[in-house]
């Protein structure tokens, strides 16, 4: 059964910027792991050179926007915020690896649903219990990248999707003038003429009924 994930210790979930590798062999070298982190204002090669191993322990490199044109937005939703933190960390690092200028993961307002139910199966109105469900949301916005690059990033995230985290992708593409008309022509040519929609069926049936009634009326009269 999928129970709510519980923390077994009183410690909060470890922050992704802190060290959590246990043995000395696993830890990155002292020079690489500077407590202040790799330089944020320098170019990407300098940032990459500053940490060879343990790069994911820090925030990803923020590629500067070239044209400031929004291209995509990904919404993440989950019942558990620590899962969201993990997946948005993964998403932002993968976008940085593809050189997509992205925003930091922005926290959108949490949705809270509350249900108050009677504790027993019959009567006892004064004994009730509250249940809630919180939906935590994050959003990452992407600018300036090619639609193909965005598509690859999205496919990569879908391939390595995390259980318990939902993703909604909104893409904005630029295309030539007149593409809507061409699409409409293409779709019109492809509709199957044999099968009608249910509203058409209703109209056709009602026409038949009207004809039947009119002929029966004229026969009676």
């Amino acid at each position: 059964m999928l129970a709510a994930i519980k923390r077994h210790s009183a410690q909060p979930w470890p922050k992704l910027t802190q060290r959590w590798l246990s043995s000395p062999a696993q830890r990155p070298s002292q020079a690489a792991l500077d407590p202040s982190g790799p330089p944020t204002t320098a170019a990407e090669p300098q940032w990459a050179a500053a940490t060879v191993h343990g790069r994911s322990l820090y925030l990803p490199y923020q590629h500067p926007k070239t044209h400031n044109i929004p291209v995509a937005m990904i919404h993440f939703r989950s019942y558990f915020p620590h899962l969201l933190d993990q997946f948005t960390h993964f998403a932002s690092h993968s976008a940085s690896a593809l050189a997509i200028p992205i925003s930091r993961p922005v926290a959108l307002p949490t949705q809270r649903s509350l249900w108050t139910v009677l504790k027993g199966p019959f009567a006892h109105k004064k004994k009730q219990e509250n249940f809630e469900r919180k939906v935590h949301k994050r959003a990452i916005k992407a600018w300036d990248a090619d639609p193909e690059v965005i598509e690859r990033w999205v496919k990569y995230l879908e391939n390595h999707a995390m259980g318990g985290v939902g993703m909604r992708v909104i893409k904005w593409e630029r295309t030539r003038v007149g593409v809507g008309k061409d699409r409409l022509e293409h779709v019109r040519g492809q509709t199957r003429l044999a099968s009608a929609t249910s509203s058409d069926k209703v109209k056709a049936l009602s026409e038949k009924i009207v004809q039947q009634e009119l002929t029966s009326n004229s026969v009676d009269a």
């Binding site: 059964m1 999928l2 129970a3 709510a4 019942y79 509350l114 249900w115 139910v117 009677l118 504790k119 027993g120 199966p121 219990e129 509250n130 249940f131 809630e132 469900r133 919180k134 939906v135 249910s198 069926k201 209703v202 109209k203 049936l205 009602s206 009924i209 009207v210 009634e213 009119l214 029966s216 009326n217």
Partner: protein
């Protein structure tokens, strides 16, 4: 043995699904202001001949576990007591005891 209310509700849902197009057609004719009144009246009489298991108003949400007709939460398809039992066991995703 399942509850009789559950069986009636299943019958109603099947009947409504099967007769929806016919009912809508007759309703369209009966409510159409542009048609002659005799035709509209005949359509209304035809509508009255449909049985109760074809009317959408007879469809009622019931608990999928216990078959209870009252206290149903549509989001889960459960009555309030079954919802509480399953929520306390952790079987409803994301739902936990509220405390604030």
């Amino acid at each position: 043995m399942t509850k009789i209310g559950v069986l009636r509700d299943i019958k109603a849902r099947k009947g409504v699904a099967a007769n929806e197009i016919a009912r809508r057609a007759y309703l369209y004719v009966a409510r159409n202001q542009t048609l002659p009144p005799q035709v509209r009246y005949q359509a209304q009489l035809q509508l009255n001949t449909f049985g109760r298991y074809t009317r959408p108003t007879t469809v009622k949400n019931r608990c999928t576990v216990s078959g209870r007709g009252r206290g149903i939460m549509s989001e889960f398809g459960l009555c309030r007591f079954q919802f509480r039992l399953q929520a306390l066991q952790g079987q409803i995703p994301g739902v936990k005891k509220a405390s604030w």
